[in-house]
């Protein structure tokens, strides 16, 4: 299959979701458990995809570099944030290229961001807590035209749930359970 993805399957899924929107409803979750210091263990929860429950048996570590009080044993939350955006963009780019019939030979997305710790530490009331935006560049080659690759970049961001969640600023709500 071109790019290792079934366009027939994508097409069938799109028609199914159009006819039965419930099948397009996905629900995810992870738990982040404190281990020690800044180190945490993340575990995926079962997800719901349409009318079925799907087991997700994955786990990974999060840590901070020593300079931020950690042991530098794993990527830090900001790096996971960038990877979550980049990998989501990559899926969208790959899907778009496959729909156009473009065979990719290389696809790599580099993402960068900056953070002013003055916001987190509250040492500077003018400093934002959030990251100062995200910049990314897509390095791509294949049998598409430069114009197609350019347009795919726009389409990928416009259809990427993670990129659009950040770009549009989805609400974040939390509760605390004392146990």
């Amino acid at each position: 299959m071109r790019n290792g993805i079934s366009v027939a399957g994508l097409s069938e899924l799109a028609h199914e979701v159009r006819q039965e929107p419930r099948q397009g409803q996905a629900a995810y979750g992870v738990t982040v458990e404190w281990l020690s210091g800044t180190r945490a263990q993340v575990r995926t929860l079962p997800m719901v995809m349409g009318d079925r429950s799907v087991t997700r048996e994955f786990q990974w570590l999060v840590d901070e570099p020593r300079q931020l009080g950690g042991s530098n044993h794993a990527p830090n939350p900001q790096e996971y944030l960038l990877s979550a955006v980049g990998s989501c963009l990559m899926v969208a780019y790959l899907v778009g290229a496959s729909v156009l019939g473009i065979q990719l030979s290389r696809l790599e997305i580099e993402l960068r961001s900056e953070l002013d710790l003055g916001g987190f530490l509250a040492t500077d009331t003018q400093a934002p807590v959030q990251v100062k935006g995200i910049q990314y560049s897509v390095r791509v080659s294949g049998d598409g035209t430069p114009a197609q690759f350019e347009e795919l970049g726009r389409a990928a961001q416009a259809h990427s749930p993670n990129a659009m969640s950040l770009a549009t600023g989805v609400p974040v709500h939390g509760t605390v359970v004392v146990c």
Partner: protein
């Protein structure tokens, strides 16, 4: 030359759409050959479907009936290459492990009989079961399965799934509360059989289908003992139904085969596992199975008539203890069977004094064949204590409800009077 495959299978439209929403391909029942001769009419009943659905005549010679396409491979062209590249290879003839007209013919007949959108035949019932189950599970998945499963399925669940990082809880398939209580966050699948072996308990598929739906679980049902003629389990919440075609569907004890059936969506998920695990059905075996299916309704009627007569004879015999047959009013599940099953089938279980007595009985039978398997035209007789449940102790069998002296009969299509005479002389000699 037209399309070498399913002519109605639409292409997704790669290159003509800007995004996914502009793609054209939708799922449709199949893949089928769509010849005017082979497509079942909506009004056809089971006996007509059994003869005509899927079967097509040879266009080149006019020979009546599906030819045997004894080939491993097919001519390739642009259409086939596009099908592979764009992900609809199941709709084209490319290689016999992927699909073959002999497979498609019998698959269409089976799907028509089962009321399913799609079917895949396999080289055994276990090939169908393993590909189906593994298409529905991910690493870490939990399965809830009947504690009275066919031994091959039990071995898959008990010995193989844990090696793949999956686990199984075995439950009484009649205890719906126990099924609900066994559901975990990681549960993905419920797996049951329509009738248990050898006690022939009737499993309430509609209730289990409801449990599966409410909990977003998949339900796979093995309906080998009941066949598509007794009940369409897909109408009662099952996502996929599997059969060992070796049994009633082929019915002549001369083919080993299996089938998985359901919506196109679910069967398309099984197809890559057929490719990966390799259990495709040989075209010649497809021919034998397709030919046998034409008489399935006739045979099932004869099986059921014979089983009813034999069960009634045994129930009245002084040397016979319990007799289990869903068609007998004395069967604990007779009422449920009457509600769910349009035929009681050909399996009869009964008990004589002891396992030793049962062994003597089998040695004295002249007509009935002492062999494992079931569903053939010839009556087969076996003892759970030395076949399906040989690895259990007598105490364990007793706890499962299998009485000492338990005998399992697969009643064939012989004259019931001859079967009764055979049993009568063998019982008299005890």
């Amino acid at each position: 030359m037209g399309v070498r495959g399913d002519s109605l299978a639409s292409q997704p439209g790669v290159g003509s759409a800007a995004w996914v929403d502009g793609l054209a391909r939708q799922r449709r029942p199949g893949p089928f050959q769509r010849t005017a001769r082979s497509r079942p009419h909506d009004s056809w009943r089971a006996a007509t479907l059994a003869v005509h659905a899927g079967t097509h005549d040879d266009g080149a010679t006019g020979a009546v009936g599906t030819p045997i396409y004894q080939t491993s491979t097919f001519l390739l062209g642009g259409d086939q290459y596009a099908a592979v590249e764009e992900g609809y290879a199941r709709d084209r003839f490319i290689y016999t492990r992927y699909g073959n007209p002999s497979q498609w013919a019998v698959q269409e007949k089976l799907a028509a009989l089962e009321g399913a959108e799609s079917a895949i035949v396999f080289s055994s019932g276990m090939a169908a079961i393993s590909a189906t189950v593994l298409s529905m599970l991910d690493r870490g998945a939990h399965v809830i399965a009947s504690n009275e499963l066919y031994g091959g399925t039990y071995n898959l669940f008990h010995h193989e799934l844990p090696s793949l990082g999956m686990c199984v809880t075995f439950v009484d398939p009649r205890d719906h509360e126990q099924i609900e209580q066994s559901i975990r966050p990681s549960t993905m699948l419920i797996y049951v059989e329509t009738l248990t072996n050898p006690l022939l308990k009737v499993v309430d598929i509609p209730t289990i289908g409801d449990i599966a739906t409410r909990n977003r679980l998949r339900l796979v049902v093995d309906a080998t003992f009941t066949t598509p003629l007794a009940m369409h389990v897909l109408e009662h919440g099952a996502h996929v139904v599997v059969h060992s075609c070796t049994k009633y569907l082929n019915g002549h004890s001369d083919v080993v085969a299996g089938v998985a059936m359901g919506t196109r969506k679910h069967i398309d998920q099984i197809w890559p596992r057929l490719l990966a695990f390799g259990g495709c059905l040989d075209p010649h075996a497809c021919f034998l199975l397709e030919r046998s299916l034409k008489t399935l309704p006739l045979r099932m009627r004869a099986h059921a008539e014979g089983a009813q007569a034999v069960a009634e004879f045994l129930a009245a015999h002084p040397k016979v203890g319990v007799v289990l047959y869903p068609g007998l009013a004395s069967h604990p599940d007779h009422e449920l069977a009457s509600k769910l099953l349009s035929t009681s089938g050909g399996m009869v279980t009964f008990a004589v004094e002891s396992d030793a007595t049962a062994a003597h009985l089998l040695d004295r039978l002249m007509l009935m064949r002492q062999a494992t398997s079931l569903g053939g035209v010839e009556t087969l007789v076996s003892l759970p204590c030395n076949t399906s449940h040989a690895t259990y102790t007598a105490d364990q069998r007793s706890r499962l409800g299998i009485p000492p002296g338990c005998v399992r009969l697969s009643v064939g299509i012989e004259d019931p009077n001859d079967l009764i005479a055979d049993l009568d002389q063998a019982l008299a000699a005890l």
